[in-house]
């Protein structure tokens, strides 16, 4: 089960890394005749029941008002492999684009946006995770190594932050900053805010590990050999927390992806020209359109698979 989870997460990360090579269309191109176009699956058996090389049926706009599309069964379009730097696509001269997962309300390729969005979502979550691990290790290590009043105060502080409803804190912090910002500024801000909310659980765990390891013989031996406090902490005690930190990192990435999606969904995350899973989910706010075009919920499926992978790889011990 653990391996399956790791494989799932690795697959999603690979999709994000290979986004430019996988998407047949750029993520921000609007195809005017393809608003809410349905997915175009790859087929190997045609309407006549014959086997052929992988192909798709082109779409034809049957009714512009109802946004009804028809498959053109008479003219199957073969896929072109490994040309123009893309793994699979249809030939340039074809009348319409290939939309593997359909199109959103503006006629943009949902699949391309999904894999490109995964890059931004994963990147911001990874940066925030690094930040949270850094703060948490610093605070937890300091508390565990110092002990006494400082330990008490730091742990009370992290307990306090843990109890707060995370989403409210993220929201309040983000709303307190200027609402309209450039994407790069939003990126840094969101990562910083998430790190500020996510560190306490890391700090608690690191502190517990450091405090118990400090009493072990090897730590006492290092002290007796004249190691300073900082050296003891860095070289001898913190390495004991490595496994814990790895598991926490996985849980935090999943939680932060979700937080980014929520922020962008309510309009406080990335602004529209950027592509992230949360920005894509804004489409779903229009309930009737979403009901007719469920493929616009693809990022929700992405979040589900990612969280599932993380849960299988590192079983959660506390509710999120």
């Amino acid at each position: 089960m653990r391996r399956a989870g790791v494989a799932l997460v690795a697959c999603i990360a690979l999709l994000a890394v290979l986004a430019p090579a996988l998407s047949p269309n750029p993520p921000d191109v609007r195809f005017p005749d393809r608003a809410y176009a349905p997915p175009m699956p790859v087929r190997v058996v045609d309407a006549g029941g014959r086997w052929r090389a992988p192909f798709v049926y082109p779409l034809r706009l049957a009714d512009r008002l109802e946004r009804r599309y028809e498959e053109d069964r008479a003219n199957p379009v073969p896929l072109v492999w490994f040309s123009r730097g893309v793994v699979a696509q249809v030939h340039e001269r074809q009348p319409g684009p290939w939309l593997p997962m359909g199109a959103d309300g503006s006629g943009r390729d949902v699949f391309a946006r999904l894999v490109y969005g995964a890059r931004l979502s994963l990147a911001v979550a990874l940066l925030a995770t690094l930040g949270a691990l850094f703060i948490g290790t610093l605070v937890g290590g300091a508390a565990g190594a110092a002990g006494g009043v400082a330990d008490d105060a730091l742990m009370r502080l992290s307990d306090f932050v843990i109890v707060l409803p995370a989403m409210y804190v993220v929201l309040a912090l983000r709303a307190a900053l200027p609402l309209v910002l450039a994407p790069a500024e939003v990126f840094a801000l969101v990562a910083g805010i998430l790190a500020l909310v996510g560190w306490p659980i890391v700090a608690r765990g690191v502190r517990a590990i450091v405090a118990s390891e400090r009493e072990r013989d090897y730590a006492q031996a290092a002290l007796a050999l004249g190691a300073g406090r900082a050296r003891l902490l860095w070289r001898h005690l913190l390495p004991a927390a490595r496994g814990f930190l790895a598991a926490q990192a996985a849980l935090l990435v999943a939680a932060f992806i979700l937080a980014e999606a929520t922020l962008s969904y309510v309009g406080l995350g990335f602004p529209e020209p950027s592509v992230s899973w949360g920005v894509m989910l804004q489409e779903a706010a229009n309930v009737s359109a979403m009901a007719d075009a469920p493929w616009t919920l693809a990022p929700a499926a992405g979040i589900f698979l990612l969280v599932l992978g993380v849960n299988l790889a590192a079983p959660p011990s506390t509710p999120r």
């Binding site: 843990i162 109890v163 707060l164 409803p165 995370a166 989403m167 409210y168 929201l171 309040a172 912090l173 709303a175 307190a176 900053l177 200027p178 609402l179 979700l258 999606a261 929520t262 969904y265 309510v266 989910l281 779903a284 706010a285 309930v287 009737s288 979403m290 009901a291 469920p294 919920l297 929700a300 979040i303 589900f304 969280v307 599932l308 849960n311 299988l312 079983p315 959660p316 506390t318 509710p319 999120r320």
Partner: protein, 325 residues
Amino acid sequence: MFRYLARRLAFSVLLVAVVSSAAMLLTFAAPGDITSEQVGTGATARSIEAERARLGLDRPILAQYGAWLSRAARLDFGTSLMYGRPVAGLVAERAANTLLLAVAALALALLAGVPLGVVSGSRHGIVPGAIRSASIAAVSMPTLVSSLVLVLVAARTGWLPTGGMTSADAAAARGWLESAADIARHMILPTLAIALPLGATIERLQSQATAETMEERFVAAAAARGVPPGRVLWRHVLKPSLRSVAAVFGLVFGNLLSGSFVVEIVTSWPGLGRLMFDALRSRDMYLVAGCAAAAGVFLAIGALASDAALLAVDPRLRGRDEVRG
């Protein structure tokens, strides 16, 4: 017991004061204020200045904060700048809606999660396996995903209303029984959206705790005395294994609030989260502080409830001043 309650009360007052003050000062520090939205709507610089003076927004931050604090100490939380209504009434009304959702979801999650966890943790076979798989899937469906999926299902099938708290067609014209039924119908979707991931988390915890408790020697002793297996499970194993669920109860309340915020946005349920969101966006600082105070009260009640839950399942803790070490 008295000392314990006194400590809890002091902590709660501190929590509410710190949380609402922090929210208030954060909104002060934020760029722009309630009058910013009038820029570009035909208001002149002078009229905006006059509006700010009327609302007292031109005074120094500390003076405004001090004035608010002294009034808040007398339980007067000011008037919402956005709605022009007293904050207390507005917040109480919305907080009640959130509470309704949260209590229903928590009850559902506990009533489903604990028994299912006992079953899946104590046995092997097809049914416990199915429970386990379903639960892992549901744990991986955070509230944002679960609410969107449920809205999709509701919208496609038309079984349930997808948003709001009441139907549009004049709820006032009908009797209270019908309007209660109407609210109940609108409640099903948001409650399920919160309860699904929460109940699954509780199921996982309970399942693990049950499996661990089954290994204890007193369980083997009870079985050896001839106590029937069902009775061993539901009496001897259940109670000590409830401890791990009770231990995370404190976190569950923060989780409920966060989850309910997401659901309120997705299904436009008029609750505390939505109110706070709107207040934050329009820089309505008194309303922000009021919402934060309500959330603080909610958390304080949660802390009390989680202590009570721990005490109820673990008699060894009774008679101490502090429940958790």
